[in-house]
Symmetry: C2
Subunit: 214 residues, 2 copies
């Protein structure tokens, strides 16, 4: 398996965690989002993923994009160390928690959106930072409420083993900390993150531990 | 089943299509996103969904949010008229296509994001419209490329029966047309949309046919 990745991309970080949790070996192909005017926009990479976004996974001659689709695929094809619970309601809840991050926070703070704020709309660094923080704070308020109110929350986001939701939570907390969000204001998020980041699968997926880290 | 919905919400529109395709009856509970300062931000609705977003589905005493999680749940619990193919690669592809819309287009054009552009950043209607159109054009370019290059594309986004990807495509095309995007520039998207909108399940889910339509 070949994973097109960028050390700091949180969508790629999620997939790296999932691969590591399942103990699946892969070749990391770095795609630099800044260098060369953005290697993700090169003809070579657009032939891999016409969306021009990382990650992309090549497996068995097929190419998959979109982190959630990739992780669900890995979970179906390699069911050992399942990342979704066995019951339909549990699975729905894990997907819901992941999507609060994957749909309500992360896309709005994506690099290309931040670039639009600066280039097309003429905003400065401060306005960009305020924007970034705003959507994390909104999203964490919501995610914390979903986690805190539901008895399904265990030592991890759902139950006592890592699921897709945890693969999403840790990279988002990493981004939050980069932008000085006080994560301890969201006690359940902070508690689960603190537990996850000590696990080898999460550690090995950390941006600082990638071959393309700067 | 009870669906908290707003006639024009494209996330709610997706779930209505899925419910109709499966022939599942439901009670629509309208949540007006503008009236009363936004009924989705009321204490009553935040008790249903702390994220303050539609849709939410109540079924069997549980409440689910996030359109993708809801539709996958419906597909698991009511497997008649499946909305995902049987093979893992096909399922990954359908999820990927849906997420190009659900992650790369729709969240950036969500009402709360448009509000931030106007209120916090002081932009006018024109800048807001340019923003909205930009992310649809970017996303449709990408979606069209994914559809056009893959032999899995059939009369529908994947194969010859509707899947979750079609539940996502039709509401996004509806939004595109509201903002005068020339959808015919994306021939595969336009062809599939034209086919879908004639089907009863899609017709009944259309914003104009909802009890809360204006």
């Amino acid at each position: 398996m070949k994973l097109y990745t960028y050390f700091r991309s949180s969508a790629a970080y999620r997939v790296r965690i999932a691969l590591n949790l399942k103990g699946l070996a892969y070749d990391a192909v770095p795609v630099h989002l800044v260098r060369d005017g953005g290697q993700h926009l090169s003809d070579a990479y657009l032939a891999v993923n016409p969306s021009g976004l990382v990650p992309a996974l090549e497996d068995d001659g097929i190419t998959l994009t979109q982190s959630m689709a990739i992780i669900e695929y890995l979970d179906e094809v390699h069911p050992m160390v399942p990342l979704l619970p066995r019951d339909a309601i549990g699975r729905a809840r894990v997907r819901e928690l992941a999507q609060i991050i994957g749909c309500d926070i992360h896309p709005i703070n994506n690099l290309r959106v931040l670039k639009y704020l600066v280039k097309q709309l003429g905003h400065d660094e401060q306005a960009k930072t305020d924007w970034y923080r705003h959507w994390i704070i909104e999203g964490f308020r919501s995610l914390e409420a979903h986690l805190a109110r539901n008895p399904g929350t265990g030592t991890f986001c759902h139950g006592d083993t890592p699921t897709i939701a945890d693969c999403y939570l840790v990279p988002q907390v990493f981004n939050a900390k980069r932008f000085d969000i006080a994560v301890e204001a969201y006690p359940t998020i902070a508690r689960i993150n603190d537990l996850c980041v000590e696990l080898p699968a999460f550690k090995a997926a950390h941006p600082a531990h990638q071959a393309d880290a700067e």
